[in-house]
């Protein structure tokens, strides 16, 4: 079973085709980079995979589950249990502390408090922020925020992490550290990762790189 299977996905906004037949697969624990200029359709593809947007045609399967068969609740469950996202701007919940941000997805899935506490501690430790666990987002540096975001992404033990420019808002030293962290968690937990990026630097941790342009991945045929 593949972690992610995207088959001939198309998507248009009005008359503008944004995705013109994209196919890609990720094996379990496999990491791939998705590159391309602005407007090439990367973000739309990511949204479709994350279940925030729906493709016009084509099939997206995550851990063997086809997104097309899921209703809104099903998609919510998918995001709560299977896929996590790491964002360029971190998107921590500003009113929650680092620890609470990490805990939040587990609360959503209804994991018991004792287990939650244990797992939160482990995750925080894993991303190297034990000393900052009680801090509020606005008290954290960019790198620290991204570490919290990664810990939060790991909280649900996902099969797939979608990372949208995870280093895009960080200086290069910090970016390197975040990449190392991503690589190590992926290795350790066997989580597949699709990293959208502008940066060649990122491909360092990725086995494969997909280049996107005008709604297709280079080397693939456009649909229709």
């Amino acid at each position: 079973m593949k972690a992610l299977q995207v088959s001939r996905v198309t998507k248009s906004y009005g008359a503008d085709p944004v995705l013109r037949g994209v196919s890609l697969t990720l094996g379990v624990g496999e990491r791939a980079a998705l590159m391309g200029p602005s407007g090439s359709g990367k973000s739309t593809l990511l949204n479709c995979i994350g279940g925030i947007d729906r493709p016009d045609e084509g099939v997206i399967e995550i851990a063997g589950q086809s997104l097309g068969t899921l209703d809104e609740d099903g998609l919510c469950r998918l995001r709560r249990e299977t896929v996590s996202t790491v964002f360029q701007f971190f998107h921590l919940l500003p009113t929650l502390s680092a620890r609470e941000n990490v805990e939040f997805p587990m609360q959503l899935t209804g994991i018991a408090m004792a287990e939650r506490a244990e797992r939160v501690a482990a995750l925080i430790e894993e991303v190297g922020l034990s000393h900052r666990a009680g801090a509020m987002p606005h008290e954290l540096s960019g790198g620290e925020m991204q570490r919290v975001a990664i810990a939060r992404a790991l909280a649900i033990r996902p099969r797939l992490i979608l990372a949208d420019e995870p280093t895009g808002n960080l200086d290069s030293a910090t970016g390197e550290a975040i990449l190392d962290l991503l690589e190590s968690v992926s290795e350790r937990h066997g989580i597949a990762m699709l990293v959208v990026t502008h940066s060649r630097q990122v491909t360092r941790i990725c086995g494969r790189t997909f280049e996107m342009k005008d709604g297709i991945i280079l080397g693939q045929e456009a649909e229709g």
């Binding site: 973000s43 739309t44 949204n47 994350g50 925030i52 809104e72 609740d73 919510c76 469950r77 998918l78 995001r79 709560r80 249990e81 996590s84 996202t85 964002f87 701007f89 998107h91 921590l92 919940l93 500003p94 009113t95 929650l96 609470e100 805990e103 939040f104 997805p105 609360q107 959503l108 899935t109 408090m113 606005h138 939060r152 649900i156």
Partner: protein
């Protein structure tokens, strides 16, 4: 000069390119903002209009007998002799002066003896025409003539031809020439309707209960031959009117002093009449204050939301070189325009609301004071403009703080990514809240303000109440932490925890919303405390007071101003009814003491000593037995005065008081002070043997009857009713339940207004949450990315709303205990002189809390559900 032009140009640019486009892009939000404003203004206006209508109902007629008179001459007690008119013409000499005699009497419809009280006004119907000439200023023939049928009785002289207004005719379905059966005093009278008085569009409508008659006719009908209630003086217009008015004021002031009469302007009269409804007006004042404050909170909250929402844009404008003052001005202009539009809408809405309220208030006023119809909402142009201006000023003022906040936004490059909030800092300064609290306590200690006119204004009390409200608005911030802790407890539910986390770090909006709620709840609950205290006190007073078996009064006597009374023949026949063992009798007069109206009662407690215990004593007399009011062995007749009288005039037990009576004045000695909640004007009670001498009057207005042992009260009641058609007889239970019913009716409108305040506050809560969610739309996107469902987000919103409502309720109730205390212990005794028992209506408090929480939960959930899928900034 150039700078100024640029500034104006920038202002226009900011307006057309930003403010206006925001509005156009988000019409729903703009509409909401306008709606909030409109609601605030509407409630304010409605309450004011309703208040005014009630007051107009009281004061109107004194104005309108002769149009607008310059002076009134009236006796301190009893009536005037008509012979005084000739003397008055002599006093005025050849000066141009219209002298219009008036007699007033009261009556009821024969088919509704407990219904509307009719006010009979007798005046010279011929001379009244000359007053019309004054008004016309030139006696042009603008009169509308209508002819009476041939052979019809003259409306003049000792006739029974009357004139009524259109409202009367409509209500009774009568027309000119029809006959109406009424009861004046205890006699049944058949009146002929001579015509319908047209309403003047420029003046208050002719009150529904007004009956106009030629003076001699009313004198005959009311048994007041040759007597007058008052004389109105009117100076015609012209170049020397001012000089003449001064001269007449001097001459008639001298005349009044010499004769022991009262000379006053209709304004004086109106204010003294108005004084009578002080309790009710206080009620309304508090309520309109409530509407005002809640309105301001709503406006502030809405403006603040707009600032926060456009913070990024403001930051960009700042980096492009727009100055803080230009930003501030743009916001003030925005506030002004929103205020204008909202206020206009509010005025329309408020006018509609008032029509509904006036009915309710009119009923209330009728019940307790005059059985009068409060006029429809009239003379309101001033009120409309006032409310409009209020709305605009309030929205500009409410916009001041957010505007300052906007202007202080740093340029974009200095702003941290995602920086939000800021907002109201004032509400975060909780020590300031403590200062207000202390100031409030200080104000509560202040003595009342005694105006030159004799009106007592509990200024300190009002100030204390205001300070309390400020204190509560600020201190409410301290409640967020405990409320958040309570909500976050258990940390089981992700969305509840998330909601709690929002409240742990409240924004200005949260504070304003909770403060608005707290003020609405606090003031409503304080009213509740006042009403409950009033009710408890009154009920126990009634229980103790009403010990007789049957109560008989002249028709219409349940109203304070009723002048109907039972003739000696009638009451003697009642005493002779089989089964009647004895009766207490009371005749009541309105007299003017030290320029203020009070009641003088002539009480005849028959012979049973035990009944004296019925009064609740504040300062009991040494002697309470039979003859305690007879004054045997005393220099002056003894008098018992009510608590409100004692407070109003500052008399204590042992003081000697000069009471004006028809034939001059009489000294009485105060030997006891008792509690009375039936009126706030105050009562002086003396033996009826004295009043019957002083007023040459053997009539009585009420009697309390004790049935003989073994007699069936119901059958005695039936026999008494046979005596005369013009009396109302009730059993003890009936009177008690009537009294309680009247009480509840009086405060019915209070509940309605409270409901409106709470509805507005909860609406404000909904709007605040909608704004907060809008602001947090990036966060919502994150929540969705983390797998939160739409219902989950709705739940988070609900918990946040519940948290805010909890804070508002807790703060509101604490506020209400203080406010209730100020109302009952400070404002109430100072303005009416009533000692009330402090009583908290726990069940209704609980109900209010449950209703508020439930509506808050519902509204917040709905808002959350509706806004859960808001697109975030980062999604294309």
């Amino acid at each position: 000069m150039k700078g100024k032009e640029t500034s104006v140009a920038v202002g226009r640019l900011l307006w057309t390119r930003f403010v206006w486009r925001h509005w156009r892009r988000e019409p729903a939000l703009t509409l909401m903002l306008v709606a909030i404003l409109a609601l605030g203004v509407a409630v304010f206006l409605a309450v004011r209009l309703a208040n005014k209508a009630a007051v107009t109902g009281f004061g109107m007629f004194t104005e309108s007998v002769s149009g607008e008179s310059d002076f009134l001459l009236r006796p301190k007690a009893g009536l005037l002799d008509a012979a005084i008119l000739r003397e008055m013409r002599t006093v005025s000499g050849h000066a141009p002066l219209g002298i219009f005699p008036v007699l007033e009497a009261s009556g009821v419809f024969a088919d509704a003896v407990e219904g509307v009280m009719l006010r009979f006004v007798g005046t010279d119907l011929v001379a009244l025409r000359n007053a019309a000439n004054f008004a016309a200023g030139g006696g042009k023939g603008e009169g509308v003539s209508f002819s009476a049928e041939e052979g019809q009785t003259s409306p003049l002289g000792v006739s029974r031809v009357v004139y009524v207004g259109g409202a009367f005719a409509k209500a009774r379905g009568v027309k000119a020439g029809d006959e109406v059966e009424v009861i004046i005093n205890d006699a049944l009278v058949l009146l002929t309707l001579g015509g319908i008085l047209p309403d003047d569009p420029n003046r208050a409508a002719v009150p529904e209960n007004l009956v106009l008659m030629d003076l001699p006719g009313l004198q005959a009908l009311a048994g007041r031959k040759g007597r007058l209630s008052r004389v109105e003086l009117r100076i015609p217009p012209g170049a020397t009117a001012g000089r003449v008015r001064e001269e007449m004021a001097t001459r008639f002031a001298g005349f009044a002093t010499e004769r022991g009469l009262i000379l006053e302007t209709p304004g004086d009269r109106k204010s003294s009449v108005t004084q009578m409804s002080a309790a009710f007006r206080l009620n309304l004042t508090i309520l309109s204050g409530l509407a005002l404050l809640v309105g301001i909170y709503l406006i502030m909250q809405a403006m603040e939301a707009a600032v926060v929402k456009r913070r990024g844009e403001i930051a960009v404008l700042r980096s492009l070189g727009v100055t803080p003052s230009q930003i501030r001005r743009a916001w003030l202009v925005e506030g002004l325009i929103l205020g204008l539009v909202g206020s206009l809408a509010g005025v329309v809405l408020g006018r509609l609301l008032a029509v509904g309220l006036v009915g309710a208030i009119g009923k209330t006023v009728n019940t307790i004071y005059y059985e009068t119809t409060s006029s429809a909402v009239t003379l309101e142009r001033g009120e409309l403009i006032f409310s409009l201006v209020f709305g605009i000023v309030a929205s500009v003022l409410a916009g001041l703080v957010p505007a300052r906040d906007a202007a202080m936004t740093p340029p974009a490059q200095a702003m941290r990514q995602g920086m939000q909030g800021g907002g109201l800092t004032l509400l975060r300064r909780w020590p300031l809240g403590l200062v207000f609290l202390l100031a409030s306590l200080g104000c509560a200690m202040l003595p009342p303000l005694r105006m030159a006119s004799g009106t007592v204004v509990p200024l300190g009390g009002y100030l204390a109440a205001m300070m309390l409200v400020f204190a509560a608005s600020i201190l409410i911030g301290l409640l967020f932490r405990p409320v958040a802790a309570a909500l976050g407890k258990g940390r089981g539910e992700a969305m509840r925890g998330y909601a709690a986390s929002q409240l742990r770090r409240p924004e200005g909006r949260h504070r304003l919303t909770a403060a608005g709620l707290a003020v609405a709840i606090g003031m409503s609950a304080a009213m509740g405390i006042l009403v409950a205290s009033f009710e408890t006190t009154l009920t126990s007073w009634i229980q103790q007071l009403l010990k007789a078996d049957l109560y008989v009064a002249a028709a219409g006597a349940s109203s304070v101003t009723n002048e109907n009374s039972l003739s000696p023949e009638t009451w003697k026949r009642i005493l002779a009814v089989k089964g009647v063992a004895g009766a207490d009798k009371l005749q009541r007069y309105t007299i003017s003491l030290e320029g203020k109206d009070v009641f003088l009662g002539g009480a005849d407690y028959n012979d049973d000593a035990s009944r004296f215990l019925q009064l609740i004593w504040i300062d009991p007399p040494a002697e309470k037995g039979p003859g305690a009011l007879s004054g045997e062995g005393r220099e002056q007749p003894p008098a018992w005065v009510s608590e409100s009288f004692s407070r109003r005039f500052g008399y204590e037990k042992g003081d000697v008081l000069k009471v004006p009576v028809e034939s001059g004045s009489q000294a009485v000695e105060i030997t006891g002070i008792y509690a009375e909640y039936g009126n706030e004007t105050g009562t002086i009670l003396v033996g009826r043997e004295f009043t019957s001498q002083w007023f040459k009057d053997e009539r009585i207005s009420q009697m309390a009857i004790y049935t003989a042992a073994g007699a069936d009260p119901e059958s005695v009641l039936g026999a008494i009713r046979e005596v005369s058609a013009g009396l109302v007889a009730r059993t003890n239970e009936k009177l008690r339940s009537e009294s309680i019913r009247i009480f509840h009716q009086t405060f019915a409108v209070t509940y309605a207004l409270e409901a409106i305040a709470v509805i507005i506050a909860v609406t404000g809560l909904g709007l605040a949450l909608a704004g907060l969610l809008l602001e947090r739309r990036n966060e919502l996107a994150t929540l969705r990315a983390l797998g939160a469902s739409r219902r989950g987000i709705a739940r988070a919103s609900m918990w946040e709303g519940i948290g805010l409502a909890l804070a508002g309720l807790a703060g509101g109730y604490v506020l209400s205990f203080f406010l209730g205390w100020v109302l009952i212990r400070v404002i109430n005794p100072q303005s009416f002189g009533w000692t009330l028992r402090y009583q908290v209506p726990w069940p209704s408090f609980a109900a209010l809390a449950v209703i508020t929480l439930a509506t808050a939960a519902l509204v917040s959930w709905a808002v959350g559900y509706r806004n859960a899928n808001l697109k975030s900034d980062r999604e294309e």
